[in-house]
């Protein structure tokens, strides 16, 4: 039922963990630099038709004598993105940073002798790890490495805040956190939060690309990163994809949290500020999903809802933990 507490902290592991996090930040910064160069100076290259990529009208399949003639009725052209060999390297570097992140979390867990997301610092680090994992997944599965810079910027900011202001030495947990529902609840929140972060980053990218397209429609020339982004439709799909993953998990996380609250505090829902804000995020993402199915709300409006949704997640994490006094003893 309860976690046995290692009274002592393994110092070797602790210092390994602390070095790893610094190395990881440096690695991500290098990857961000490479991704940014790719975004700004790469060549716009056609992406292969695939899971999220549209099948172009000319996607003819050449057989011997039975050529397939395809006719697709979508406004969207083929997906194109700015690509260069630097992006491939950036992806590898990101993968390296991710591996360091995994090692960092494992060593920290070993150092403290418990699951390694038990306080704010650890939560931020894990959240960023999930976001980077999401980026890697999107890159490999959806050819979406053009999101690299957009995901790594918030990741680096959060990691910076984590190391600079939230850092605490590894150690055991307070009794309220001795429940197996805590790792379940917190893990769900981290996985969902990381995916919301990727979705939010893709959403912001969408908004930039959408504006670029609107300006192009007015006959303006769009240069720089904005001009080289993939089509807004593609970005919207990627953004939506990550919410499809995150929203049910967030819902599950809230449920797991209330089971824990029921065991620990004698009520499963008590409108504690933390609970209120996770409810607000949940309702906003539900609104996002509805907006996508409501005439006149698809596109930028729905995406803004998504961005606001991620803002509420961050607010819940930073502001609620520090501004309001609640029962959540996570800080």
């Amino acid at each position: 039922m309860t976690y046995t507490l290692a009274g002592t902290v393994d110092e070797t592991m602790a210092s390994a963990s602390d070095s790893l996090i610094i190395a990881m930040i440096v690695t991500y910064a290098a990857a961000l630099f490479l991704f940014a160069i790719e975004a700004a100076y790469g060549r716009r290259t056609k992406l292969k038709a695939g899971r999220l990529m549209p099948v172009g009208a000319g996607a003819a399949e050449d057989g011997a004598d039975d050529a397939i003639e395809v006719n697709v009725r979508t406004a969207e052209g083929e997906a194109r993105a700015s690509q260069s060999v630097l992006g491939t390297i950036a992806l590898g570097v990101t993968g390296l940073g991710f591996a360091m992140g995994v090692a960092q979390i494992v060593t920290r867990g070993l150092a403290a002798g418990r699951w390694p997301w038990g306080n704010m610092f650890e939560f931020v680090v894990a959240l960023c790890l999930v976001a980077v994992g999401g980026l890697l997944y999107a890159s490999l599965r959806y050819q979406a490495r053009f999101l690299g810079a957009f995901v790594l910027v918030p990741v680096l900011i959060l990691l910076g805040i984590g190391v600079r202001w939230l850092y605490v030495d590894p150690g055991p947990l307070i009794p309220a956190l001795h429940s197996y529902w805590v790792p379940i609840h917190v893990t769900a929140a981290i996985l969902a939060g990381g995916a919301f972060m990727v979705s939010g980053a893709a959403g912001v990218t969408y908004l930039v690309s959408h504006r670029a397209e609107a300006r192009r429609a007015l006959g303006e020339r769009v240069t720089g990163v904005a001009g080289r982004l993939p089509s807004p439709e593609l970005l919207d799909r990627i953004s939506h994809r990550f919410i499809l993953f995150a929203f049910p998990l967030w819902t599950f996380g809230i449920i797991a949290g209330s089971i824990w609250a029921d065991e620990a505090w004698g009520r499963f829902w008590g409108w504690d500020p933390k609970e209120v804000w996770s409810f607000i995020s949940w309702v906003i993402y539900a609104a996002y999903l509805h907006a996508r199915a409501t005439g006149g709300w698809r596109g930028p409006k729905a995406t803004w809802i998504n961005v606001v949704g991620f803002a509420t997640i961050l607010f819940n994490f930073f502001a609620v933990n520090y501004m309001f006094s609640g029962l959540h003893s996570y800080a």
Partner: protein, 548 residues
């Protein structure tokens, strides 16, 4: 779904022949209903639900902590009454918040129930007839092959695994993803169920707080509580007749390092009876390990110290001998405050205001403080009063009303066993030891399991909704003049376009490849029910219609 109901309702509106302006009451009602159950309204209500919750997190709430609300009133005496008038300290039980979620509730019901009925009918429907012009679909592909039309259609069925298929003349119509709608209906119905469960729990349940000192017992009756919060329809005269006895309590703390003083665990050993006649049970209460007794959950919320005092009157008779719960100021030092009231002395009443230090140490300035939460070296200091305690009026056990009393001065710092002889021969008080107490919460909420069930179903419905993609595919095969077969494959997805198109394209290439691999086609298709054995690429489908 709202569109389907809208259509029919719009029809009846016209049929009723109401004038161009005057809709009539029924017309207005229909109009209002239509607005209320539209997606747009649902969206706006969702926003309001989120925005309305914000003040509930910024301002202190009575559901969370009455004390915080009271101190807000003290700090903002002008503003607070106004906020209170807007129910901003009770946001989640306020009429305006209730209005939002009740409207959402009605909207949801109005949305989802007709939709559930429609879906129940649609679920047995056959795939629709093949449209004449497949070229107009979001995805359309065509190619020619030497295979015979029958072969093409049989192969098409094999390719369309997981689809429900139906043959219409020279074409096959296929559909899949019926589950999505079912999942969506399940999700929304589960939300309705969740709301109902929560409402029922709030109306019939109760929550209570109490303190229990080691060695003492508790009977679940109204007067035993320090505070109780019953629902509207809770009968507080007829609570579950269980009893509870606190045998032992132990808190352990981290002893060293920079986390020193942080609590490691709290454990309370209790014995209980479901009812006076029931057998005795034992339970180890911990923070995440409540006791469930007779439908009531008992939780360990906190703990504290109850120093024991023995008071003698002027004649030397013992007039008071009790452990008195003190309230700690913080959890790092557990410096605790409390009040001892001794009304029955045979003479004037006595009162003491005390401070308990579990681990007393002297600072460099000579001040006595506690530096650890555990009772390493407990000390007590008291201030005494003599006179009238004013007990005829209700008052808090943690406060001493000194208006009708004379101060007796301060005690020396007392260790266990020390006695303070009161001035003027008023008697004496002995710090005879200490016990620990726990603060407990009891909670009866019948909604716990129904709410959990509804919430779990909601997650299930949600996952189905979000991951099942309904889509339709048609394959038509026609002989052309030169003896070959022209194949058309069209697809229509109800959700996102690109992913579906990629999949439709895969179906096309798959079909083309199969037809190519067997020049002249595979053997003519056998009868519908003859197919047997494992599916090979050339296997005919097992029956005319396949279900998902």
């Amino acid at each position: 779904m709202s569109t389907t109901t809208n259509d029919t309702e719009a029809g009846t509106d016209n049929a009723s022949g109401s004038g161009p302006r005057g809709l009539g009451p029924a017309g207005w009602l229909r109009w209002a209903w239509r607005i209320l159950t539209s997606m747009r309204t649902a969206l706006i209500l969702l926003f309001l639900l989120a925005v309305g919750a914000i003040p509930g997190s910024i301002l202190p709430q009575n559901v969370v902590s009455v004390d915080q609300v009271n101190s807000y009133f003290q700090d903002h005496p002008d503003l607070a009454p106004w906020l209170d008038r807007l129910y901003l300290f009770d946001v989640f039980s306020s009429p305006w918040y209730a209005a939002i979620y009740l409207l959402l509730f009605v909207s949801l019901a109005g949305c989802v129930i007709p939709r559930a009925v429609a879906h129940a009918r649609a679920i047995r429907a056959r795939p629709v007839r093949t449209p004449r012009h497949l070229g107009r679909m979001p995805y359309a592909a065509r190619f020619t092959t030497d295979a015979a039309p029958e072969t093409v259609l049989d192969q098409a069925r094999a390719v369309l695994k997981g689809y429900r298929t139906e043959r219409y003349g020279d074409s096959v119509s296929a559909e899949t993803g019926y589950l999505r709608e079912a999942g969506n209906v399940l999700f929304h119905l589960a939300l309705l169920g969740l709301l109902l469960a929560l409402a029922a729990g709030a109306f019939f349940g109760y929550r209570g707080n109490l303190l229990l000192v080691e060695g003492d017992g508790f009977a679940n009756t109204l007067p035993s509580y320090d505070a109780i919060y019953p629902g509207h329809w809770t009968d507080t005269d007829d609570l579950e007749p269980f009893t509870l006895h606190l045998d032992d309590f132990e808190a352990t703390f981290i002893e060293e390092g920079n986390l020193s003083g942080q609590a490691e665990s709290y454990v309370a050993d209790v014995t209980y009876r479901e009812s006076p006649e029931a057998e005795e049970g034992r339970h180890r209460l911990e923070v995440n390990h409540p006791l469930s007794v007779n439908g009531v959950q008992v939780y360990l919320l906190g703990h504290g110290y109850a120093p024991e005092f023995e008071v003698r009157n002027a004649e030397g008779e013992v007039v008071f001998d009790q452990a008195v719960p003190f309230i700690h100021r913080d959890t790092r030092s557990f410096t605790s405050d409390g009040v001892v009231k001794v009304p029955d002395t045979g003479g004037e009443e006595l009162g003491f205001v005390g401070v308990f230090l579990p681990s007393a140490v002297e600072t460099e300035g000579g001040e006595l403080v506690s530096d650890f939460p555990d009772a390493r070296d407990p000390r007590v200091t008291l201030e005494g009063y003599q006179g009238d305690l004013g007990l005829v009026d209700p008052q808090s056990v943690y406060q001493l009303r000194t208006t009708g009393m004379e101060p007796l001065g301060s005690s020396p710092v007392m260790e266990i066993g020390d006695t303070w002889e009161l001035p003027d021969g008023a008697g004496s008080i002995t710090f005879s030891g200490y016990r620990e107490y726990v603060s407990l919460q009891t909670n009866r909420d019948g909604a716990r399991l129904p709410a959990l069930t509804a919430a779990s179903l909601a997650v299930l419905g949600l996952v189905i909704t979000l991951f099942v993609r309904p889509r339709r595919v048609w394959v038509r095969a026609e002989r052309t003049g030169d003896g070959r077969t022209r194949v058309e494959l069209a697809g229509l997805g109800k959700t996102e376009v690109a992913g579906n198109n990629a999949e439709f394209h895969e179906l096309t290439t798959d079909l083309a490849r199969r037809l190519r691999s067997g020049p002249g086609g595979t053997p003519p298709s056998p009868g519908p029910d003859e197919g047997s054995g494992p599916h090979s690429p050339t296997d005919p489908p097992e029956s005319t219609t396949t279900r998902e």
